[in-house]
Symmetry: C2
DNA sequence: CTCCAAACTTGGAATGATTCTAAAGTATTT
DNA sequence: AAATACTTTAGAATCATTCCAAGTTTGGAG
């Protein structure tokens, strides 16, 4: 949408277009699953469609609370559960903190979790695309999501703790 | 060891030989890290070197408790932390239960976690071997472990709950 | 061999993310 | 409008994991 394409679609616009599309996919899937599109669910999908930060339930809650004071953390958990069960969002597990980080980027990639600063970044990796179906076929599993994560210490944190050779474990 | 090789090493023997070798690697690494080889750590390494079941801390504790009544769950956690920090064991995260499952198989493979029965099985995948270093190089991360997991429903659990389309999420 | 300090283990208490529950709110259907 | 089916919400309950203080064990110095 908004595809003026004067010379090239502006970064901002193209980003928002992609986000909107992703959000629409979420909402359609919820609807298709027979669920209602409540304001809470919309807000959460809106947020998820626009982050690449692998947030925790708590982070989503805090981000939305100001604009949506009645929102409850339980609803965030419930909605994430639904989205994970529909395979729209992946549950990645902890990153040094004890909270589950969620992932909305279903493009083939590997995640890198820093056990020190608890950030998770993406590393594109097209080869990964082939695995899912291969794994499903080879195992007979009904696959709902993936957790493709390498964990360790990011470059920044390595610089800040050159001596410390003992970061937390999970 | 025990390499009689009458005609071929017996399955049992070869399995035990591999396990013993893996255990030795654990113990050597602990020692190399300047840590003491206590009876508790030995017991835990012995157990880990011989399972392919991706156990939780609690499961390890319960398995060892009868033979080692004084063992404490805290020690199991502490030892797992050490092993994870040394990169000898990987922390895989939950499998439908809320507990972290640990992994001792450092051969390149993908894990499949069943969200219903909470079992995790291995799927060999040699290609995976190349990533770790590739990922490290591309990102600058110091990598300590991996969590290469697809989660869903195993064939057995699919059979038992044919109708149920809604397994738990994490 | 004896003694000391450092390294370890242990049981119990504390933490805190996630789950559960019951009550109240909202949409949908009759 | 009333009944019904879904949802949200606040607060309590869980329970895996972490923290802590105290008691043990270990390796080495003397
Ligand atoms: Mn990602
Ligand atoms: Mn495995
Ligand atoms: Zn970091
Ligand atoms: Zn199963």
């Amino acid at each position: 949408m908004t595809g003026h394409a004067t010379t090239q679609s502006q970064p901002t616009t193209s980003y928002e277009a992609a986000a909107a599309q992703r959000e629409a996919r979420f909402l359609e899937a919820l609807q298709a699953a027979g669920l209602r599109l409540t304001a809470q669910r919309r807000a959460i999908c809106h947020y998820l469609a626009r982050t690449d930060a692998h947030p925790t339930a708590q982070q989503i809650y805090e981000a939305l609370k100001p604009q949506f004071p009645s929102l409850s953390l339980t609803t965030v958990y419930n909605t994430l559960d639904v989205l994970v069960r529909l395979g729209l969002v992946y549950a990645l597990g902890g990153a040094g903190d004890r909270a589950v980080h969620y992932e909305t980027n279903t493009e083939p990639h590997i995640n890198l979790a820093c056990l020190v600063c608890h950030r998770v970044i993406d590393l594109p990796m097209p080869e990964v695309g082939a695995w899912r179906s291969r794994v499903a076929e080879a195992s007979g599993f009904k696959i709902l999501g993936a957790r493709l994560v390498y964990y360790g210490v990011c470059p920044e944190c390595q610089r800040q703790n050159p001596a410390d050779d003992n970061p937390p474990s999970e």
